[in-house]
């Protein structure tokens, strides 16, 4: 009878586990990804600063280069040159601004990058790369180093930027993202997560996914951890109940002491010595910080670097 029950329980456990594993790999996940439609007209350079106002030929040439890069990478590539309005933006504001501006131009969860070059003259300057869609997974791990290859061409903040410096920063950026793209191999054990929107970006079976739910690998890890904790709980439960099945305890021998018949010929507590030690009191303190965020937009993976 109890054998039947244990078989049933084990069977139920196996079925549950199998169902979870199957749902992880084949369960319906709404892919929020917006595939790139080949339109490179959204890509280009946004010159809020007016840096190239006097050299529209150079600007057109650069923008064409950026659009070529976009065509090759099959994603939007936008380079933003901050103007006066950027002067009072904090680092977080820049992060937010880049994400929103990108979504406005190209749409939520489309594939693309948005490079914010902080050239309005504030110090320190903060350059940032915001990645959307598959760009998040491809560049996510190296995002800061990509920003650095671009802004290493620029002088330290406070110095005047020459046209040559800015041009080579943009070209360098395009070259870097192109070569990283070519060298990228989809890996199902890697995913990126935007903690503001809760979206995950990952490749599964060679296909790119943007989902609200965790990627299969992460869910498998959660499942494994949950199973281990469940097993530990079951084992603890087993030993706890088993130990409660003992109802034998030795009687306290103190109950047999004949209290009137205790005779101490010597019962003394003699003071021997005393000593005092002193120690300096150490003091310590600590402090913490907070943060904020955006929500409702597309998912972005971003990173930046100060100049």
């Amino acid at each position: 009878m109890s054998k039947k029950i244990s078989l049933l329980v084990i069977l139920a456990g196996l079925v549950t586990a199998a169902a979870i594993v199957l749902s992880i790999f084949f369960g319906g996940q709404k892919n929020l990804r917006e595939e790139f439609d080949g339109d490179t007209s959204l890509s280009g350079i946004i010159d809020d600063y007016g840096f190239y106002d006097d050299d529209s030929e150079k600007f057109a040439e650069l923008e064409a280069y950026v659009r070529d890069t976009a065509e090759m990478l099959e994603m939007n590539v936008i380079i933003y040159l901050s103007g006066d309005s950027g002067y009072y933006r904090t680092d977080d504001d820049i992060d937010d601004y880049a994400a929103k501006r990108y979504d406005d131009i190209c749409g939520k969860d489309t594939d693309g990058v948005f490079l914010y070059l902080d050239i309005c003259g504030k110090s320190p300057a903060y350059d940032l790369l915001s990645c959307s869609g598959k760009a998040g997974v491809i560049y996510g791990r190296d995002i800061v180093s990509i920003v650095e290859t671009a802004n290493s061409e620029l002088p330290p903040s406070g110095h005047t930027i020459s046209e040559n410096q800015l041009t080579s920063a943009i070209i360098n950026f395009c070259v870097t993202i192109s070569s990283r793209y070519e060298n990228y191999k989809p890996n199902s054990f890697r995913w990126e997560h935007d903690k503001y929107t809760g979206k995950y970006f990952y490749y599964k079976n060679g296909e790119f996914y943007v989902t609200k739910k965790a990627p299969p690998v992460l869910r498998l890890i959660i499942f494994a951890i949950a199973s281990v904790i469940g097993a530990v709980i079951a084992i603890i439960c087993y030993y706890a109940i088993r130990s409660r099945y003992k109802f034998k305890t030795s009687a306290n021998p103190g109950i047999y002491v004949a209290h009137g018949e205790t005779h101490f010929t010597d019962s003394s507590d003699t003071f021997i010595r005393s000593y005092v030690t002193k120690r300096k009191i150490e003091s310590s303190s600590s402090s913490g910080g907070g943060g904020g965020g955006r929500s409702g937009g597309g998912g972005h993976i971003s990173g930046g670097s100060h100049r």
């Binding site: 109890s2 904790i229 079951a234 003992k246 021998p253 002491v257 010597d266 507590d269």
Partner: protein
Amino acid sequence: MNAAEYKCPNCNADLKFDPELQKLSCEYCLSVFTVEEIKKICAEAENSIPKDSMVQSQQEFEDHNQLYHCSSCGADIMCDDRQTALFCYYCHNPVILSGKLSGAYKPSKIIGFKFTKDLAVEKFKNWINGKKFVPDDFKSEQQIEKITGLYVPFWIADCKINVNFSAIGKKIRHWSSGSYAYTETKEFRISRQGTVAANGIPADGESKIDDLLMESIEPFDYGELKDFSMSYLSGFYADKYDVDKAGVFPRIRTRASEASKKVVRDSIGSYSSLAVSVEQYNIMNTDWEYMMLPVWFMTYRYNDTVYEFAINGQTGKLAGTPPLDKGKLKSFCAAIGIAAAAGLYLIGGVIF
């Protein structure tokens, strides 16, 4: 000198002189005495009560008991001669009449059953109802029918213990002043020397019954002790002891030492730490009484293990380890584990 003229005050065996220790030692119960100690103890024992009507009551015992033997587990069961024992209280196999017990086995005292069989059965049922993981037939009426009223042979010891204890105790006080923390340590030399008495320590003389089980249903109220009479046995079984005084003495010694230790430790006030240098408890003298104490007893055989249960026939205190249906328990725990894992997975899915 010839040491054999002295008897061990704890188990009554002959004492032998140990030249190495320069002391008298008992090879049965391992007690050790100096010659002076023994002389003193013997002198005190001289004026103890002479036995008068002993012989007559022993004769009555011999005439009216019947001894049955279980060839299956070796138990020797004694009954009043007006009833017949049919089954062994321990292994539930048929028993055969094997004769009569000699007067030497007559207990001096007895406590009669006070907790009735109906109460014992009810107590057992209530207790077992809360246990979900016992085998089903353990709860059956057939099993509960096996509860047997049994007089268990007990050796009851009154011990005099010599105490020798010394230790260093520390009292620690902390305070702070300005930016300094101070620690004051006061040291005391603690000494306790003297004698402690532990009276009425019981030890059952039946090797088959688990010692801890019998300790678990203690204490018995010796205030209700009566002189032994065969009439107490009618309707019950009694057991013939197979462990003598010397055999139970190690258990008595342990418990007497623990009792003395408690007296000593309780007499010591609160110290932050105690470093004990000497702690000796030597039993100097033991007075024995052989008696029968009432126990509702039941055994259950499961997976080749015999599970024993006992209810104090005087107070109703219950003890025993119920058989555990590991299959039932494992399924239950596995179900909990699976539920927990599934719950955690769902929570994990919400968080991530």
